[in-house]
């Protein structure tokens, strides 16, 4: 049965096809032009996406403090796991339907997302004056700048290069924090005899493997890791080969937990440490927040432990695993900055929020008191009178010393590494750990991968 002759349908089909094509072109034509100063600066709703703060409660603390001053700006925080961050953020930003404000980390993320971010230099000048660079931790500015643009305002910094121990476990078995590799092995033996896990690491995630490797490298030869990152030393330098050899020893001697290369730092290793299964974990200053009763209780709940009693965690120096007498120095970057999407319809409100959290004393004090980040604004420090630690008697001094020490750190953590080099470091770490490659072979492969990724070596 024919409802219409074909000849009459032909022009209709052509029109339909043309309409489809035009509508597609029109849809594509909605380009991401900057929508500078869109919306009101004192009211509206803004969506903030981030992988950190790693729990909604901390983000809500910041937001509620902000709302005391700006009650008409509603901030919705969406927590995205860091392993899903790129996959979630890229299409969201490209579509123009994504967040108004998003977290930005120095290094690979800046190069990936800088084209979606508003330059925040004017915001910094407006908030802090022409000398704004002197008022913010320099480690935050350099890592978040690219192509002459400040892609995000630094919120705070994080530093790594230390271990965190479960104070109760160490006290129960009369153990001292390990100072050398031999000490570390002894601590693990004692804990294993008592059916307690020793050290837990998510060795399947590159960022955390890098932390442990950088700490080992700092024990072997201080500064070597940074030199390799900048191309001033080769990744197959004998010091890096030795670093990978010690890394392998951590697995062979049973310091690392069984199956570590199949573990994620978050949630696996984090949950195992917080539930008391292990006595030690490699985390940075962001873990300081769990020294507080409030954050520790929330974290235990998130780890699936109901009604658990918070225990005191303590930062300890990374052991001198190379036995060369080098105290492993810490290293750090801006933890994250807040970027404003150039496709946001609420840029004015977004700027108000970012300016308050990153440059206002109240906002930075809220950051400092959470102990998740060290505030980027100089002169702001945690107010320990308002911070309730799980066990102030044992925790207050180590935590205060950690913060003081971190403020003097200049060695970068991840900001010098591209995604390709980070991937190559992970490949080297896991191939050595699983015995698929010798430290020398893995270091040679890493060097080739870094060269292929465009790193220029001297």
């Amino acid at each position: 049965m024919r409802l219409l002759p074909t000849s009459r349908l032909r022009p209709l089909s052509a029109v339909a096809v043309a309409a489809l094509a035009i509508s597609a072109l029109v849809a594509c034509g909605d380009s991401g032009d900057d929508k500078a100063a869109a919306g009101s600066a004192t009211s509206g709703t803004i969506n903030w996406w981030g992988w950190t703060p790693t729990d909604n409660a901390t983000a809500e603390t910041y937001i509620s403090a902000f709302n005391k001053q700006y009650p008409d700006i509603k901030v919705n925080y969406k927590l995205v796991n860091i392993s899903d961050w790129v996959a979630a953020l890229r299409p969201a930003l490209a579509s123009g339907k994504g967040p108004d404000v998003f977290d930005m980390q120095p290094g690979a993320y800046v190069s990936q997302f800088k084209s979606f971010a508003v330059d925040q230099t004017p915001l910094a000048q407006e908030a802090l004056g022409d000398g704004w660079k002197d008022k913010i931790a320099p480690i935050g500015i350099s890592g978040l700048s690219a192509d002459g643009k400040l892609t995000a305002m630094p919120v705070g910094s994080v530093y790594a290069g230390m271990l965190w121990i479960n104070g109760d476990i160490f006290k129960k078995y009369s153990l001292q924090p390990p100072a050398t590799l031999a000490d570390w092995k002894h601590v693990c033996e004692v804990l294993k005899q008592n059916k307690v896990g020793c050290f837990v690491q998510g060795a399947a995630q590159e960022g955390f493997d890098q932390d442990t490797l950088q700490s080992i490298a700092n024990s072997v030869q201080p500064g070597l890791w940074t030199k390799a990152s900048t191309g001033d030393a080769h990744w197959n330098d004998p010091g890096i080969v030795k670093t990978l050899g010690i890394w392998k020893d951590l697995f062979d001697s049973g310091i690392m937990q069984p199956g570590a290369v199949g573990y994620q730092q978050y949630p696996d290793a984090n949950n195992d440490f917080l539930t008391g299964k292990y006595g030690m974990v490699m985390m940075g200053t962001w873990y300081t927040q769990y020294a507080t009763t409030k954050a520790m209780t929330a974290a235990l709940s998130a780890a699936g432990v109901s009604g658990a009693k918070p225990f005191p965690i303590l930062p300890v120096a990374f052991p001198d695993v190379a036995g060369a007498g080098n105290t492993s120095e810490m290293y750090g970057d801006a933890d994250f900055g807040l970027a404003i999407s150039n496709k946001s319809d609420n840029q004015a409100a977004a700027k108000t929020f970012v300016k308050w959290l990153t440059t206002a004393k109240e906002g930075q004090q809220a950051i400092a008191d959470q102990l998740n980040d060290l505030p980027s604004l100089k002169g702001v420090e945690p107010d320990f009178d308002n911070i309730q630690l799980v066990d102030p008697a044992t925790q207050k001094d180590p935590v205060a010393q950690l913060i003081e020490k971190a403020n003097a750190v200049t060695e970068p953590r991840e900001s010098l590494l591209t995604a390709d080099v980070q991937d190559a470091i992970l490949a080297a770490a896991t191939s050595v750990a699983t015995g698929k490659a010798s430290p020398q072979d893995a270091a040679d492969t890493l060097q080739k991968a870094a060269e292929a990724a465009g790193v220029t070596f001297k």
Partner: protein, 314 residues
């Protein structure tokens, strides 16, 4: 088979009419009468699917992060790099092992379950549901369960330790030698229900008189299974092999959710490697080249299995 033979005859008859019965002097071939009716679907499929494939093919010649303007044209360099990429070949090897193991085990289990259910066992309907339930459970829901089950302090090791097999306890998904078998186990658990249902349905098509005659000739259960039921299942087995092969090539969810393709690429498949290259590493051009290779391999495999199935039917 019967249907295709009939269709073939009809088509042959239509060709005869068209060639011999057309009016002399008519210009060009007759326009197929159904074109207007399939046009919307055609526009949609050409526009969405084939355009997408073509665009992916174009991207595969670029060095591009998917966002930046001015991608660099590389010609076929991405493809030649893939040929020298050890992770790609590892993914191919995993795909082949995965297909062979999962297909064989699922076929045996599905066939055995189907035969048992046809034997009118007690609580048969209940068992059918039990076997089929994993098919409807989303991998994203089950992945955390399996991650926990196979963890060093997980349920599997707990059971082993409590039945005197503690020496076998190990970090199943945390070592290269056992991670892939775990992924295959989960897949078999998940998809055996489909194999079972298809075999069960196919068995209802077997003429009972044939089985009855075999019984009268003295054939036992095993002989009936091997000589009558299994040959009758050939079409179903071919279809399952094709689905299994394409499924193996497309495998992504279970290895990504349970092991993230690790440890050390031990459970890397083409799907996870394409994702790894395209999203976290931003090598969109390289990922597109891998996708095109995946498409070509899938087409060749489907054609090969189809051809093998037809030859076996003859």
């Amino acid at each position: 088979m019967t249907t295709s033979t009939r269709t073939g005859r009809r088509a042959g008859a239509e060709r005869t009419v068209a060639s011999g019965g057309g009016r002399p002097g008519r210009r060009g071939p007759r326009r197929p009468p159904g074109l207007p009716w399939i046009l919307p679907a055609l526009v949609l499929s050409v526009g969405l699917i084939y355009y997408g494939i073509g665009y992916t093919g174009y991207i595969s010649t670029l060095n591009w992060d998917g966002i930046s303007p001015g991608p660099q044209h590389l010609g076929g360099q991405n493809y030649s790099r893939i040929m020298h990429d050890p992770v790609f070949w590892e993914a191919i090897r995993h795909t082949v092992v995965f297909f062979v193991v999962t297909f064989v085990v699922q076929t045996v289990l599905g066939l055995v379950f189907a035969v048992l259910m046809h034997a009118k066992i007690r609580l048969g309907a209940f068992y059918k549901v039990i076997v089929f339930i994993p098919v409807v459970l989303a991998p994203s829901i089950m992945a955390p369960v399996f991650r926990h089950m196979f963890a060093p302090d997980g349920e599997l090791n707990w059971v082993l330790q409590h039945i005197g097999l503690g020496s076998l306890a190990q970090p199943w998904i945390g070592q290269t030698g056992t991670a892939l078998p775990v992924i295959m186990f989960i897949t078999i658990w998940e998809w055996t229900g489909v194999t079972f249902v298809l075999y069960y349905a196919a068995m209802t098509q077997i003429d009972p008189s044939v089985l009855e005659a075999a019984r009268m000739d003295g054939a036992g259960n095993l002989r009936a299974l091997v000589s009558i039921i299994w040959p009758e299942m050939r079409g179903t087995t071919t279809a399952l092999a094709m689905l299994g092969a394409i499924g193996a090539l497309k495998t992504f969810d279970v290895p990504y959710l349970v092991t993230i393709g690790g440890p050390n690429h031990a459970t890397e498949f083409l799907g996870t490697y394409i994702y790894r290259q395209t999203i976290p590493l931003n090598h969109v051009g390289y990922g597109a080249a891998l996708s095109i290779i995946l498409l070509v391999v899938a087409l060749l495999m489907a054609l090969g299995l189809q051809f093998a199935g037809r030859r076996a039917e003859r």
